[in-house]
């Protein structure tokens, strides 16, 4: 929402905390339960597939380690972007934001490659319980990454048109919270899906 909100409504904040940031944290709390439930499904069905391919047949640890690293680094880009915007350094702010989105897209590209490889190897949603729960869990995460990429690109676009300035650091911060959370979820998924086969 625009900057004029608070002024227009004389909305003071009893806690001194920005409304949108409180909203984002509460939303992230809710997301914990969403991914928690999806993880429950994946873990409960781990090893319950009646037919293959099974996780150990398909999961490519070195490959996914690379994309995991890419996503971790995108989080670094994100904090650098925020700190640049907070300093008023919009040039670097824009660059770091774009880098974040770019690394996000690389991660998504990796996921697309992984998915199509699995499908090629005979694993689809309908093949077995592993297929269904794997695609649903990582797919939901991927959708979150995609939304984040769109969001970040919108911010880059706004910055390009001069509509994103130091005064909007909060807007970047909130997008950042979302982005880091998506990263955090992947940290958990990486361990549970790929390493605890």
């Amino acid at each position: 929402m625009s900057q004029t909100d608070a002024a227009a409504m004389e909305m003071h904040s009893a806690t001194g905390l920005p409304n949108r940031k409180v909203l984002m944290w509460a939303f992230i709390g809710s997301e914990c339960m969403l991914f928690g439930s999806l993880i429950i499904v994946y873990m409960v069905y781990r090893g319950k597939s009646l037919v293959g391919p099974y996780p150990s047949d398909l999961l490519n640890i070195p490959f996914i380690t690379v994309t995991t690293f890419v996503l971790l680094m995108s989080s670094l880009m994100m904090v650098l972007a925020l700190s640049a915007v907070q300093r008023g350094d919009m040039k670097w702010g824009k660059i770091w934001l774009f880098m974040t989105a770019l690394l996000g897209m690389v991660f998504l590209g990796g996921q697309v490659y992984e998915f199509s490889h699995f499908v090629h190897e005979g694993l689809t949603l309908k093949t077995n319980l592993f297929g269904g729960s794997f695609f649903l869990l990582t797919g939901t995460h991927g959708a979150h990454v995609a939304v984040g990429v769109l969001w970040l690109l919108s911010l880059v676009f706004m910055a390009q048109r001069g509509k994103l300035t130091q005064a909007n650091a909060e807007t970047v911060e909130i997008a950042g919270l979302y982005w880091h959370f998506v990263d955090v979820v992947w940290i958990v998924l990486f361990t549970l899906i790929y390493l605890l086969v």
Partner: protein, 609 residues
């Protein structure tokens, strides 16, 4: 009655009936929390009547043994939609109506934190509710129970679109609930007026906050369950297919991880209302405020640890049953604490026996019964006899009707003067109360015995000779009277709108901030944002210091302008739902395009016009 007709602010009160002025378009684009609250209230009450009508048809069918009035196909649709409607389309949005109208007033704010998100929540709820009920016109309503146990909901055992309507409808309603809950979390945390610390918040606001947290934490679990089911039905996944190793019990876990907190989502707002009404009409502050607050938090927290008590008969084994039995019994303690504190509030008071208090007292009396029968099936072994029988039907109605609906009616009688600016008829209100409480007990008390004597629930017929006839007939007669009692309420509301006496600012001599301003409140609520120095600001010794009031010398504050983007986004979601239901990609794209259009327009439209 304490109508402050001489006070200067009453004249201001008349001036504010413009709060509701304007045509249909102004309602569609409104972002005013009061108008949204009214829309929530009216539509939720409409769906309450729809759900009630479904219940009456069910009772007509069960009025006699081996009755053939309603065939099983229709019967299963009716009980499924009765449950779904009452939970998601009646009680939750009725609570939301109070959240919307009352909470910003109680905390001394001009609106909620995100007014357009609020409008969006309402429209998603309303369109989702229409979507769910539209199923009646397209091949029949959902018929697998409001709990939708897998694998009865699979395409093999539930072909057609009925269950799809249910799955997609609930997903849509979940969006609405989570958005609204996030909004109220921020509103209550951030928009409290000066001096209103957390431990000075009115109880209703407290319970709204706790309910909102429950919503954001509980809904994701059912969302995941529904998505699994949707994938099974639409894309052929195997999540709930036992032939492929899928576990049908996983649905039950996910459903009840949501479903038990959901019970408290339904209940806590009612507890909040009663905690407001009782002190006001006892003329003394709430006894043990902190304990009532903490017990609410404790109930909510424990609510996440008891879901498997809905599954005692599935054979989880003695360890799980012991743990979940014990955890469930624990909940009785904070619940008891609340009841004792209410009675202690009454004790030593000067009870003004007006309609809101009647309903609040009726709530306590009925809720005790529902609580005690609840303890009976908290014990896993006794539950083996009671689960899935009419005993549970009786229990849930003592909690949700005798409990929650009585509390919500207390809230309606209490706050409708604030909403409309007019007093409701005491005579009709009390007639409504007595007819409702008598017919309620006539309907549901015998059902305890029906259950214990072996009548399973969700059965469209019962054989003669099992001894069920007399009690079922009693129940049916009671239900008809219960339905009729609603007519008194509707009559009362209509008469109030037409010729109710002016309410003034504070007809009940209440203590919270919503009563410090005109009825109905002006669109900006407070000309000057109030500041409070205690829990009961209007009862404070020095009124002027506590509440600045509606000082006409200050200019009217600017309020956010109307916006059609929330409505457009909600319509986009409805279109998307329709596309998903029929699996037509073009419709899905149109829906997504509408949603994106709505969100972008929304994001870039300044709040003030």
């Amino acid at each position: 009655m304490a109508v402050t007709s001489e006070s200067p602010s009453t004249s201001a009160g008349h001036a504010h009936e413009g709060t509701y002025a304007g045509g249909l378009l102004s309602w569609i684009t409104t972002v005013d929390h009061k108008r949204i609250g009214v829309m929530y209230g009216v539509s939720a009450f409409f769906f309450f009547l729809v759900g009630g009508l479904e219940a009456l048809l069910i009772r007509l069918q069960l009025g006699s043994a081996e009755n053939t009035l309603i065939d099983p196909d229709l019967y299963n649709q009716l009980f499924t939609m009765h449950g779904t409607t009452m939970v998601f389309l009646a009680i939750m949005p009725l609570s939301a109506a109070f959240f919307n109208f009352i909470v910003p007033l109680q905390i001394g704010a001009r609106d909620v934190a995100f007014p357009r998100l609020n409008a969006f929540s309402f429209w998603v709820f309303f369109l989702g509710a229409l979507f769910m009920n539209a199923s009646f016109l397209f091949g029949g309503a959902p018929d697998a129970g409001w709990f939708g146990y897998a694998n009865l909901t699979s395409t093999q055992y539930s072909p057609g679109m009925r269950v799809d309507f249910w799955v997609i409808g609930l997903l849509v309603l979940g969006v609405s609930s989570i958005a609204a809950a996030l909004n109220f979390i921020v509103t209550i945390i951030n928009l409290r007026c000066e001096g209103m610390t957390l431990m000075r918040m009115p109880l209703f606001t407290w319970m709204t906050l706790i309910t909102s947290f429950l919503l954001v934490m509980a809904f994701p679990a059912i969302t995941v369950g529904l998505v699994l089911l949707m994938f099974d039905r639409m894309f052929g996944t195997l999540f709930f297919n036992p032939m492929a190793g899928g576990d049908v019990l996983l649905w039950q876990h996910l459903f009840w991880i949501f479903g038990h907190p959901e019970v408290y989502i339904l209940l806590l707002p009612g507890l909040g209302i009663v905690s407001e009404v009782i002190p006001v009409f006892s003329r003394k502050p709430l006894f043990g405020y902190a304990f009532v607050v903490y017990s609410g938090i404790l109930i909510a927290f424990l609510g996440f640890g008891v879901w498997a008590h809905h599954m005692f008969a599935v054979g989880l084994g003695p360890v799980a049953n012991t743990v979940f039995s014990a955890a469930t019994m624990l909940i009785a303690i904070p619940t008891g604490v609340k009841i004792f504190n209410w009675i202690a509030t009454l004790w030593g008071g000067s009870l003004r026996l007006r309609t809101p208090l009647y309903f609040a007292l009726g709530f306590i009396a009925m809720f005790i019964i529902g609580g005690l029968s609840g303890v009976m099936h908290a014990s896993a072994p006794t539950d083996l006899q009671q689960t899935d029988t009419y005993f549970i039907v009786a229990h849930i109605h003592y909690v949700l009707f005798g409990g929650v609906m009585f509390a919500l009616f207390a809230g309606m009688y209490y706050w409708i003067p604030k909403v409309t600016g007019r007093m409701m008829s005491e005579r009709l209100g009390k007639a409504h109360f007595w007819m409702m409480i008598i017919s309620f007990n006539l309907t549901f008390f015998p059902q305890h015995f029906l259950g214990l004597h072996g009548m399973p629930r969700r059965t469209f017929t019962y054989e003669s000779g099992l001894g069920f006839e007399a009690m079922n007939l009693m129940s049916t007669v009671g239900a008809m009277l219960l339905g009729a009692s609603m007519l008194i309420f509707i009559w009362n509301v209509l008469a109030t709108l037409k010729k109710g006496a002016p309410a003034g600012n504070d007809p009940w001599e209440a203590s919270t901030l919503e009563w410090s301003i005109a009825s109905p409140p002006p669109h900006y609520n407070f000309r000057v944002l109030p500041a409070v120095g205690g829990r009961d600001p209007l009862w404070a010794e020095d009124l002027t210091e506590a509440v600045p009031g509606d000082d006409p010398s200050t200019p009217e504050p600017h309020m956010p302008g109307p916006s059609y983007f929330p409505f457009a986004t909600a319509v986009g979601i409805l279109v998307l739902a329709g596309g998903g239901l029929t699996l037509t990609l073009p419709v899905v794209f149109v829906g997504v395009a509408l949603i994106l259009f709505g969100i972008y327009g929304w994001a870039f439209q300044p709040l003030e016009h």
